[in-house]
Symmetry: C2
Subunit: 208 residues, 2 copies
Amino acid sequence: MNDFLTVIKERRSANKFLPNIEISAEELDDIFSLVKFAPSAFNLQHAHYITVTDKALMDQIYEAANKQYKVKTASAVIIVLGDTEAHLNAGELNEGLLHLGVMSKQEYDMTVEGTIQFYEERGDTFKREDAIRNASLSAMQFMLVAKAKGWDTCPMIGFDPDQVQSILNIPDKYIPAMLIAIGKEDTSSQRPRGYRKPVREFVTHQSF
Amino acid sequence: MNDFLTVIKERRSANKFLPNIEISAEELDDIFSLVKFAPSAFNLQHAHYITVTDKALMDQIYEAANKQYKVKTASAVIIVLGDTEAHLNAGELNEGLLHLGVMSKQEYDMTVEGTIQFYEERGDTFKREDAIRNASLSAMQFMLVAKAKGWDTCPMIGFDPDQVQSILNIPDKYIPAMLIAIGKEDTSSQRPRGYRKPVREFVTHQSF
């Protein structure tokens, strides 16, 4: 599926997946090779992904996700993490531009220092929220790219983050921003698409 | 631009816009008519947008956004809000499915009650973070649709949220999740695309 409007219109959250459909690490990586182009604040690339296809692990995630049936039949469960300390990578991430000569050493130093200061000034709540924000931008790109590659997805927020963190040995600096179940939708009992508010109800011109 | 992969690859954050390019309310609404298909938790559609094209208002936003030059030359500044009380709309948003007979009255009551309880149990931090999360999913869809329609964008987090809230009379229950400058990019002094981590650095298979 390569028509942009078709992807936007056909992507919808899958409620139920066809069982026993496998997705390979190569197919997942192929999706991620396009997900990486999503934007992030200061280009810090806060999003980190864990892809789970192992059945025993998926069963544990199923338990941590209020036993939502779609986890059982999905081809994979994707854990979308946000890095609350992504700003500390500013130096490493800007090295390329410095070495290419696109940035002078002075610009590089200012960028790195400015980025770190931006986060440190705003504190822990901001760091956490910004990790979620940037992980979510990336997650939307993931769901659209997946659809273009023939896969259906469903973002999920009903899970115990501490349990997920512990099952998958996720370091504390990462926050699970959401789970995404991915597979081929079982459309046999599909409901009509969820109601959407008309534009006039969620867009205001000039002021609230 | 209607090729999905082209949109994904060509969308990049614009650093500088061509001045004096107008975007009409119709063009903006045309984008939003596709943004609305983005997913949201429980289909609560937490995202609300304010589009600012009025020059006097844009000048005020420019001041609130650390005088970032791109705000000056953008065709519009879009404020992406997240509704921290979106769960209270569960009844209204599910009425359509009830009236269509897709949901029984019992299912409807369970859905509405369950949704409200889900948020109330988790409390204020969760409500705030979920508003940001869902607004961000929507914002990514906005930037891609805008690109497909020939517009360049740049998401921005460097602004004073209280000031923005006050300039635009935004009710307290909404959180500014980000600003998006939109216009036609001035590519005369464009830098190479920002470095992206290779897939192996941000994706882990099975466990961390």
